[in-house]
Symmetry: C2
Subunit: 288 residues, 2 copies
């Protein structure tokens, strides 16, 4: 039976491209069929797995320009039972799409706030006086502009083909190496040894140095912390949860021992999974 | 001459309420007159001070529910010359405003993405099937709904009075203690001894434990780290800047010594300011 995979829709979003890349890998490397299921928000994409509507979900975690996708971390902490099974990194190229024929005629630019933020310097330099209008997805931006030639949308070159809206300017993202990390989540942990472990924890409030001990536990064992994020507990200003990604370099890595020690220096500790990063080829992504 | 203060506009935003609270304090405690200058984005609010258009800016830093305001940290790091002069904390109460007379008739809800996020559980429980539409500010949301009775906006009770749109439901924020920290910035550092110091730094990439040393420097001196945030360098996925807030408890606090030691364990270190938290009274805020 085909594996059902939830993602942020509708068709044409970067999250769908990530889901398609994963779908291709599943078919080529594992011989498994899958079915993509679009959801209107990232939170609903994660709930879909937690509530058993789909078997997996593909969600963005962080972007190289705009940083963490807060709703993913907050929902993961809250839902508790979800496990990270894989990771994939997708290059993100933004294009300016419009039915207008020159930049001079553009009065409004629609896109998802993340995309607007990833192109903000380009927009200031080239369209400094236009009205920037946020939308729920890059695809929704295309629905807003059609067929007005004075408006444009920031979306992917793939969306240009899907919705038949011409590209006015390509590659308008401020940083050329713009890319987004996605996690593939399900209800069961992976059985293969992962190269990365992600976890979240809370520490006692207002204790000087409360974060030093958790960091020392990994540093003294030579375990690299590839990322640390803080998120509010939402109860009170100044109370935080911490999220960490650790690199697991060998079979002899004393990571289990470190995690046991970590429980004695944290209030609540949740391990979200030990997983591999999918080795996607640029040529495979280009075909999507 | 009146002090010019930039803030995110237009009139009716929570940033304007913060600026008004600061304006009231300036007048009552310092006998100084001031003039509020609305700007369309948070980045432009900060540029206004950097470019000498205004003398000060009031910008949000973090919210107790939704966390850091990334654009504030990113712009502060990039502009370099801005100094934090004061801080204030504003309670944020969201209301559902509409010309419609019952929740049943509402089909769309407009608001700033931060406000939509701060009310997401309430929206799921009470308006689960409506279309959520992001806007550039809570005030812009009010312009979108007027006069359609099937649409609503999330904005402040103050905006309800200013724009004459009735409150359908009050206090719809998911967490009752919802509040936002604001910084007041200018080109000169404060001369009074602050109770808080904020700084940002980069560490050598991919060195296990690179963040441990900076944290240890403060922990071993009993200096409490009240907040730590990571932001991407934007160059490459996995490279981060760190932002910290430190509590300065007494005149004898060895903070200067700690900052000197910190320079030897960081690549780039920027101290954004040593400042006091304004003691605002709830009764003063209620009058705004």
């Amino acid at each position: 039976m085909a594996i059902s995979i939830a993602h942020l829709g509708p068709t044409g979003t970067n999250a769908e491209t990530a889901a398609l890349a994963y779908q291709g890998w599943l078919e080529q490397k594992q011989g498994k069929q899958s079915l993509l299921c679009p959801y209107p928000t990232i939170a609903q994409t994660l709930y879909a797995v937690a509530h058993g509507e789909t078997q997996q979900a593909v969600v963005p975690v962080e972007n190289s320009t705009e940083g963490t996708v807060a709703v993913t971390l907050d929902t993961l902490w809250q839902l508790d039972q979800l496990k990270i099974q894989q990771e994939l990194v997708l290059p993100i190229s933004h294009a300016l799409l419009s039915r207008g024929t020159s930049l001079k005629g553009i009065r409004s630019v629609y896109s998802h706030p993340q995309a607007l933020a990833q192109c903000q310097s380009w927009l200031e330099q080239n369209l400094s006086s236009v009205h920037l209008i946020p939308t729920n997805s890059t695809t929704e931006a295309l629905h807003e502009i059609n067929p007005d030639p004075t408006s444009a949308a920031i979306a992917s070159p793939r969306a240009s083909k899907l919705y038949n809206v011409p590209i006015l300017v390509n590659n308008i993202n401020d940083y050329p190496d713009n890319c987004t990390r996605f996690w593939i989540l399900g209800l069961t942990p992976t059985t293969v040894k992962g190269s990365r472990i992600s976890l979240g924890f809370s520490v006692p409030a207002n204790v000087p140095g409360a974060l030093v001990k958790p960091l020392e536990i990994f540093a003294k064992r030579g375990i690299n912390l590839s990322r640390i994020e803080s998120r509010p507990t939402k109860r009170s200003l100044g109370e935080y949860l911490f999220f960490m990604d650790l690199e697991v370099k060998s079979e002899h890595n004393p990571i289990d021992e470190a995690l046991v020690e970590l429980t004695t220096h944290t209030e609540v500790l949740k391990v979200f999974g030990s997983y591999q990063v999918l080795p996607l080829k640029a040529s495979d992504i280009a075909k999507i």
